[in-house]
Symmetry: C2
């Protein structure tokens, strides 16, 4: 099994990405506080480079490569944000980047990946097909695989989002982040455990891809499902190291349906003036769905990304 | 004629609003810099309280009232952002606020005004009707008129946006802001003249409400027009003190059609992840329309507000 990253790895990641990544602002809204009945501190990762927290993990992975590794570039599979992040991170180091993209990915995300200079390789949308295509590219090019979430360097990098948030807000009662493969929430759990020991970590998961909730309930990974959710960034299945970290840190999962996520997305656009994607808005939806659990508390919410296809908004004009 | 505000008035406004207003961030985008061929520094007023720079001027006016004046509250007419700003500013001081709103105003903006506790008074959309309704309310209630832009306290307050921007960026070669009644751009011109004497100030104006361009060309106010533009915040006519300030500071006007404004709005949403309204996006559209004028320069762009009606977006889904 892969060794799990530690808090020291998160600190090392923070130092490694500092020359390249933004320290994103923490936003507040009195109106949303009133609505939620608690004090919300939003970590604004849509303002991260390439528009999502994914740049943190990708950048850490790229700059952790040895010179010999770096010469052969990197490869990954991604429905969007990780691909764009790895493409941009590779550009910061001047190395090649190959991205395997599944059929049906969001057009604006593919354009971003190509725009950052990566080579796109299309494949069928099954996980088996993506992994096969990645393995073939590794063999052909000698590139290093940077998995979107089941990778210790990536997890440590994502944890820097919580590191920055807690450094700015001080101790929080709870921290909420979306879960797809689990890179973000597992990294954040590592940071929170050290910086705010009493802080509960919550994962917000779409009802149409609730493998994390089922896995934690069963005590073993349950990744046999066909995702059906508007949250295109959360359709992946929970990674193995991510599962172990969520178990170890007692992360709670709240399952949210797409309707609540879309309503939360509108609220965030209207109130924070921040373009968040559905896969981010789900974190606020989880808080609003469980007002009792968070009442009166200081709650950190990681808004993970803002890469929205403006031609396919999930609501009808009035 | 109304005495014009000075740089000292802008400084006094900054001190007066500091306990209530946000110091908004300055955002950058490498992609937009590349597209524009210059270095863009975006002052992010959608992140201001009530979602627009208007809170600055309204807050300065409300807190400049004497106790005796404040007891009778304030009154204004506004198609939206100024009304919401004055309502919220009044709430910070605990005084009454009356807002005369014209037929056809954006629904989400009216909801915001009411949500901040102001009393709405509807009237026909002509300027004469609005002014008549305001005058009647002043007589009935003793409230002080806080005009949306032809008011020295309001102009000085709006100037704090440029004060903060220039304090953060240092001297700029140019500063671009939208112009409707001229409160923002005239206040910014006052601040820029002192803090960055070589800095040219540009006003971006919709082709369907180009009274500022025509007034400056004619050397006298030309406010006889029926506005026809998507920029609902820029449909007012240039104020008299605003006209004098724009003349005095040699402000240049760039006229922009709505199509270019909508394209710029999409770019800002996609690249800055900031929900800007058309009346803000026009400032970037002006820069893109005159690439030669700004080539290689350091340019400040005031993104004035983010109050968009999400049910009435100005583009068709793909």
């Amino acid at each position: 099994m892969m060794p799990l990253p530690s808090f020291d790895d998160v600190l090392a990641a923070a130092a490694r990405i500092a020359p390249h990544a933004h320290v994103t602002p923490v936003l507040r809204s009195r109106a949303l506080d009133a609505l939620a009945g608690c004090e919300l501190h939003f970590k604004a990762e849509p303002l991260q480079r390439a528009g999502a927290f994914k740049f943190r993990g990708a950048c850490n992975a790229v700059w952790a490569l040895t010179e010999a590794q770096a010469r052969h570039g990197v490869v990954t599979h991604s429905s969007g944000n990780h691909g764009a992040a790895l493409a941009l991170a590779s550009r910061t180091r001047g190395i090649a980047c190959h991205v395997v993209v599944p059929e049906g990915a969001v057009a604006s995300k593919l354009a971003a990946i190509a725009g950052y200079g990566a080579v796109l390789h299309r494949c069928a949308s099954t996980i088996a097909e993506r992994e096969r295509a990645c393995a073939q590219l590794q063999r052909d090019t000698g590139a290093t695989l940077v998995h979107p979430y089941a990778d210790a360097r990536v997890i440590a990098g994502q944890g820097t989002a919580a590191l920055e948030l807690l450094n700015e807000t001080g101790p929080l009662d709870a921290l909420v982040a979306p879960v797809g493969g689990g890179g973000l929430v597992s990294g954040c759990a590592i940071a929170a455990a050290r910086l705010a020991p009493g802080c509960r970590v919550h994962a917000a998961e779409p009802a149409g891809a609730d493998d994390t909730a089922r896995s934690l309930a069963a005590g073993e990974r349950r990744v046999d499902f066909v995702p059906d959710t508007i949250c295109d960034g959360l359709r992946g299945s929970l990674g193995e190291p991510n599962f172990r970290l969520l178990q170890a840190h007692g992360v709670e999962v709240t399952v949210v349906d797409d309707e609540a996520t879309v309503a939360a997305m509108r609220l965030l656009w209207q109130r924070l003036k921040l373009l968040v994607e559905p896969s981010s808005a789900i974190a606020l939806a989880a808080v609003l769905a469980r007002r009792d659990r968070f009442a009166g508390q200081r709650v950190g919410v990681v808004l993970s990304g803002g890469n929205v296809d403006l031609d396919a908004l999930p609501w009808s004009p009035a």
